[in-house]
Symmetry: C2
Subunit: 307 residues, 2 copies
């Protein structure tokens, strides 16, 4: 089968073997947000990336922002709790040169203050984690760090609910556009583990002062000469991830998941940062899983008969 | 006397009468951040704005970022608790065409997580408030909303301590540079009181979910069609101010100021927003004071004999 992990900023196409193994992977920058919501541009993106994968008749299965309001075609959200069947029921088919591309829905649940919470693409990574580690299915807390981090409750093989934290986006806009960024050097190569852990500890021990208060500390520590220019970004990263962990671990407790397995899913380097921060919060056992989307697409192809 | 309220982005010069009244006010965009830390540019800014105020021998008194690291000359911070005398002791004199300009220091205190907290200019506004309303001097909680809001403890006629909240800057960078801003119309004329209060209430009732989580609600409510494009900015403003009030009111309680007078100092329209938000937090009596810098400069001129 052919799987498409089609996010906002990138398209990853993969040919999966009979056991779900990745036979071939190709990637392009033709993310959904770059294609202006025009079907012909999505078609052209596939033409450009996988022209030689065109032969064959099985549908391609696609997850991510490709199914958003400004994607190839809008696919509604499935409501939590949701399993594979719930996702497949809402999938929408589009046409690529006579072949079917099946667009998967995202997931929706009730968030704080009556706001809905939403994901598109991460549900497939979550199902991939369950495929790779079946012991997680009865109950688990999965953390997917990123631009919009997701904290996910797995319960009885379904996604029970989740909570988004805009940590990565806050880091990017504060780093690039706020007064804090002016106190940081462009050189991020020499990451400071110490400054990062100092930021995490500040959030852990004094987070009740509020994030908007502690953010000012990045500036005042710099002005006071107590935080080197080269370390400002790491301190800020630690502060933001620390605030995510405060809220996320409280969320986990409120969902009754304190004793459940905790897993990180995402880029190894980012998961490593989160693992270090979690250890400072007294959670040293969070293992990381990476690149779970292929296994998720393979699992979703099973009940739908796409393989 | 001549007072200078010289911030990052603007310079306001005022001639004050014998009772502290403003006889004349002139303003320019020659803020300290635009003058490259060069003394000659600060001199030229005064040349351009008040050439005809040059006659006379009394020193001019200046507060704000003019005394920062990248100002006319760096003036150290006075440590809290601090009164007028403490400020004047650290003031630094510079020369403007043979006349003395006395640069006031800022204030420093211990903030959360061992980070220092800092202000430059607001201390003069605080002293102005005490000048205009002497009953505040024994004990008060003063809130100065803005890019970097300040919550200030007044105790026994001195500034006992304070806490900064980067609310205004967070609003600006999120509005202009994040995914949230893309869901907002440029038209901010038609402010929605309802969306603002909805944001305040979300922070008040569910703030423990964390600001980075609730920020995502601005997006998800918009995607779900439950927040109009024109209302997104007001909801975001309410959410951020609500989180400031959560942390600020907890700070006030921790400083033992729960029963003390609460005053807002700043632009009337912004103070009005804060007053509405405070009312939703059960604090309906926060009166506002505006333009207190002249009274503060006048008060500071008294012990130093500048008048």
């Amino acid at each position: 089968m052919i799987g498409l992990d089609w996010g906002s900023t990138s398209l990853r196409a993969m040919r999966l073997g009979p056991g779900g193994e990745v036979l071939e992977l190709r990637q392009s920058a033709a993310g959904a947000s770059t294609l202006h919501g025009r079907a012909e541009e999505f078609v052209a993106a596939l033409d450009a990336l996988i022209p030689d994968w065109h032969a064959g008749s099985a549908p391609l299965l696609a997850c991510g922002m490709v199914g958003s309001q400004h994607g190839w075609r809008e696919v509604p959200y499935a409501d939590c709790p949701a399993d594979e069947a719930a996702l497949l029921r809402l999938a929408v088919d589009v046409d690529w040169r006579g072949r079917t591309v099946r667009l998967l829905p995202g997931l929706r649940c009730n968030g704080a203050a009556g706001a809905p919470d939403l994901m598109r693409g991460e549900e497939t990574q979550v199902l991939g984690a369950l495929q790779l580690e079946p012991a997680l299915a009865p109950q688990a807390c999965l953390v997917l760090p990123g631009t919009h981090s997701k904290w996910v409750q797995v319960q009885d093989g379904r996604v029970g609910g989740f909570a988004t934290q805009m940590t990565g986006e806050l880091f990017a806009v504060l780093r690039q556009h706020s007064v804090l960024g002016r106190l940081m050097t462009a050189d991020t190569a020499a990451a400071s583990a110490e400054a990062f852990e100092q930021g995490v500890a500040a959030a852990r021990d004094h987070g009740e002062a509020g994030l908007p208060n502690q953010l000012f500390g990045v500036r005042s520590l710099g002005l006071a000469g107590r935080l080197a220019l080269a370390d400002g970004a790491d301190y800020l990263s630690g502060l933001l991830i620390g605030h995510e962990l405060r809220a996320g671990l409280a969320w986990r407790a409120a969902r009754g998941l304190r004793g459940a397995a905790l897993r990180l899913i995402g880029e190894p380097a980012l998961c490593e940062r989160y693992a270090r921060a979690l250890a400072l919060f007294g959670e040293p056992d969070a293992q990381a899983l990476s690149n779970t989307a292929p296994a998720g697409l393979w699992r979703l192809a099973q009940p739908g008969g796409l393989r």
